[in-house]
């Protein structure tokens, strides 16, 4: 059985500690909801599992399928069955979706996929996600709307058939109809492949469609609270305040960002003010 095991994970970005000891286990065929207020480390956790170079693991372990994935480069983690549907998918001008996907499918096969089978599979998936037919020939995510980019992540998930998918706010930017289509495609793949899921979303509507069995609440770099689907529902209706109260936490105030000013204007004003003796 392929399980993801995270033990005492500490992660830094640019010298700032974001995750401060996360423990999480995800077994095959399980769906986990990862919740928590913005800026508390949800995306960081997913990026660290996938291996984003900016996120530095300073302590702890991540194992998948019995292997220490912290020692594996990003592409090996992907080939081991991990998939991250990103919150902000990159645009790759010059590379068509079909060339990209064919290359990505071929690296996990012994023999390259025959062109005809690839086209058939790609067309079927495009239809399933209700995307425009020219998707295959367009450059990866270039000029895509927010919703199209998110759906294209799911097209990739369908074709690469991961054993564990992490969806980072895949539902933001999708309208109600698109949300149903995406959820339907995810559920179908779960039934077909037994894929497990870690889902980051702020919206109960998406959780209603995917039905997570476990909910984890990440606050200030630690999983503060764990429960079943009921917990996700409660957070959706009541927010996070009751958690803060119950655990005696004062949410960290985000630093006020300085208001951008034009240096030119300021310098001029300062000089003038000095000159008139203010």
């Amino acid at each position: 059985m392929k399980s993801l095991m995270i033990k005492d994970l500490h992660v830094e970005i640019e010298g700032r500690e974001i995750l401060k000891g996360v423990n999480l286990t995800v077994n095959e065929n399980e769906v986990h909801a990862l919740m928590g207020p913005n800026g508390n480390g949800k995306s960081t956790l997913l990026a660290a599992i996938m291996g984003h170079p900016k996120y530095v693991v300073t302590q702890g372990e991540i194992e998948y399928d019995g292997k220490n994935i912290l020692e594996m480069p990003v592409e090996e983690r992907s080939k081991a069955g991990l998939f991250l549907a990103m919150q902000y998918p990159q645009e790759i001008p010059g590379v068509t979706n079909s060339d990209f996907l064919r290359a990505a499918m071929n690296v996990r096969r012994e023999r390259p996929i025959p062109l005809f089978s690839f086209i058939r599979e790609m067309e079927r998936t495009i239809k399933e996600l209700d995307m425009k037919e020219d998707l295959a020939h367009r450059f990866v995510n270039e000029g895509f709307s927010g919703g199209e980019k998110k759906r294209n992540e799911i097209v990739q998930m369908k074709l690469l058939k991961p054993s564990l998918s992490m969806l980072d706010e895949i539902d933001s930017g999708l309208d109600v109809d698109a949300l149903k289509i995406v959820a339907g495609a995810i559920n179908k793949q779960r039934q077909e492949t037994g894929m497990s899921l870690i889902i980051v979303s702020h919206y109960e509507r998406f959780y209603e469609l995917i039905e997570p069995e476990f909910t984890h609440v990440l606050v200030d770099g630690k999983i503060l609270l764990e429960g079943d689907a009921e917990l996700a529902r409660k957070i959706d209706t009541e927010g996070y305040d009751w958690i803060y109260k119950e655990y005696g936490i004062t949410p960290e105030r985000k630093e006020e960002k300085p208001v951008p000013v034009s240096i030119g204007t300021c310098a001029v004003r300062e000089t003038v003010e000095k000159a008139v003796g203010k």
Partner: protein, 265 residues
Amino acid sequence: MIEVHVNQDIALPHGFSEYVIESERDLDLTFSGSGKCQAFIRIRKCPNLRIRTFTDAGADISYLFWNDSDTPITADESHEVMADASLKIAYGECNHAETKRNVWVALRQNGAYALVSSATLAEDKKNTRMEVVNYAPHTVGEMKNFAVVLKGGNFFIDAIGKIVKGAYASQSHQTSRALCFEEGQNSEIIPELLIDENDVQASHAMSIGRMDDEQLYYLQSRGLSMRQSIMLMSTGYLMPITEFIDDEGLKERLKSEMEEKIARL
């Protein structure tokens, strides 16, 4: 396939034709055509190559110059495009030798159209100056250059779109993109628009640089290694040139030549 070893005036036949240029001495060649013609010209060797083309009124002519030389080439070209004619020129520069090229295109009469495009895999000095001049009203000039610059490569392109006074309702557009992957290379693109008429449309787009770390991470997160990502990007930049001439046999041949080159990256 016609072998060219001496100075010649070549009248293009209708449809597809193929030429190979091979000479230890300098050559001076003239191509002309009317109607619809497509010419594939493979350059095996020629130290100094002078090319003139004439695109007759109403003609639709495409040239694909494929540089296969392993010795340096200096090319000087001038192209004349008459009324309502279309001229498309493409350069496949994926050989391992220096090239210096100076291209001049004149959109001479009303309704003339010209496209100059190139795909370069630069491991050596590749120096191009191209100038497309709109001399008449209602003319359209386009330039599209794509390059992948490798270690030891020195890629330079000066792309000039010029619209003279009186050439109203004309257009001049250009795009140049260079991808560099390694240290020890040099890339420079100079986009220029020289416009002396008010009623025109003009644009230029230029990018030069390494593949972004975030893009690389994205490709890697789908299972592609750094090398596979570079090959994929290079394919995207260079492969479209193999589709330039509408001949299935030729497309297949160029495609496999290009794949071989990219596989060696």
